[in-house]
């Protein structure tokens, strides 16, 4: 990349971060509106949903973070095979530091040993960059900002699970997923969305569960078994009555996205990631010259 190209690429990355942090993607807005519509008038659930909708509007107009916890910064990237990978990651880190300076990201990354915060959001494990080369001649850059409150209520189960009474079958899988919702209560800033992986090892399970949030809210799982499970989980979780913020109400979950991976005969993990209502993810098609060509959500 020439200097001019680098500058443009950097600018595009900062814009992706700004848009992700301040504007809710349209598919998520539709899901939130749906949740607001089903809550009864004059309830605290409706009150919470109204405030959430107002917040989405103000953040966009003011170009300010939707939530002040701007979360873990997770990049999912496909890049043209001939890209200088080291330069690309260097520019991503630079963009994160620049976006932090501009206030699109909070100074949110702390050294786990010393407690020190260098104020840039750049350090070991931050930002998280998952990148794969591909044959196409453009970048596909997706970003997710995942808050701490909702990350804290994620859960990983190893089947069979005695406490929940869940065996090593689809029924057991369903039970632990619903258990995770009940355990979370309102603490993950619900109404939430679940990303779930059935199978895999512990690390891959959690990773793929987060990757599910890249799917559009209103898509349909191509696997009919998983598609059915996704619908059932949402319906049944919404019978728990936890509601927005845990105030009680009809909308506990807005969606569930599930993937299945092979597992070892000896292991049977179910990994559940919880995304709060402040579901921040965006993405862009970026040309090799570094310009944003199209928004993906």
């Amino acid at each position: 990349m020439k200097a001019k190209q680098q500058a443009l690429f950097l600018e595009s990355l900062v814009e992706i971060i700004r848009k992700t942090s301040t504007e809710m993607p349209a598919d998520v807005v539709r899901a939130i509106e749906k949740g607001r519509a089903v809550e009864a008038e004059s309830t605290s659930a409706k009150y919470a949903m109204n405030i959430i909708c107002d917040n989405i509007g103000i953040a966009k107009v003011k170009s300010q973070p939707l939530c002040q916890d701007t979360g873990t910064i997770l990049f999912f990237i496909h890049y043209p095979a001939k890209t200088d990978y080291e330069l690309m990651t260097k520019l991503i880190k630079k963009a994160v530091a620049a976006a932090t300076k501009k206030g699109y990201l909070r100074q949110n990354s702390v050294d786990s040993l010393t407690g020190e915060n260098n104020g840039t959001n750049v350090g070991p494990g931050s930002p998280v960059i998952h990148a794969e080369p591909w044959k196409k001649d453009f970048f596909d850059i997706r970003l997710m900002l995942k808050g701490g409150g909702c990350e804290n209520v994620g859960a990983q189960y190893s089947l069979p699970d005695g406490r929940v009474g869940a065996g090593r079958d689809l029924l057991g899988v369903k039970k632990v997923i619903l258990d995770a919702v009940q355990q979370a209560q309102g603490k993950g800033c619900g109404p939430g969305v679940l990303g779930v992986t059935i199978g895999g090892d512990r690390g891959t399970g959690y990773f793929v569960s987060k990757e599910q949030f890249l799917r559009k809210m209103d898509d349909k799982n191509p696997n009919p078994v998983l598609a059915k499970l996704e619908d059932e989980i949402v319906q049944e979780a919404n019978r728990l009555g936890i509601g927005p913020m845990g105030f009680g109400g009809k909308t506990t979950l807005m969606g569930t996205k599930i993937a299945a991976l092979n597992r070892l005969p000896a292991s049977f993990f179910v990994s559940v990631s919880y995304m709060c209502w402040a579901f921040r993810r965006q993405g862009a098609k970026v040309s090799v010259q570094g310009a944003i060509q199209k928004w993906l959500y």
């Binding site: 405030i51 939707l66 009940q182 913020m245």
Partner: protein, 196 residues
Amino acid sequence: MKTLTAPFTEEQVRQLKVGDMVEITGLIYTGRDAVHKWLSEGNEPPKNEVDLNNSIIYHCGPVVMKKKNAWTVTAAGPTTSIREEPYQAGIIEKYKLKGVIGKGGMGEKTRIACQKFGCVYLHAIGGAAQVLAEKIVRVEGVYGYEKFGSPEAIWKLQVVKLPVVVTIDAHGNSLHAEIEKQSSAELQTLFAGMKK
């Protein structure tokens, strides 16, 4: 919609019940981990700067900018309250706090202190940083900016119609405990219906 308007009194607070939607107007103070620990170690802020008596504490680390020598709050969502559970009851007792604002609810010790001393736990909408910032009309001052750092400092905020929901009242009720119990029972019903 109910209101809680300064000066906050026990009488006002005793009228509130869990599930009530409330708008708060008046002076409130932010305080989170560092401040709660510091207060519970017996330290007291100078009364002429921060008078916590009969006041409301907000578990919040606001984003505050200085523009032309005046502070403005650009984000002011609640932080998770349960981290202050070890300290909160003692602080409610000492300062006769009338309210604690936060998110996620608090535990038994706080519930009991609310009942005994006439305080309520007020749940703000988690993540609604922008709506809540707009309800802060003026920053009256800050205490401990150097000592605790900006997000942890005690910010004196004038708020108008700050929207919250009562989830622990002064009569011993906790909405969190109720919802937890109901949802747990409903989960068991769901499980029972799932038998192959």
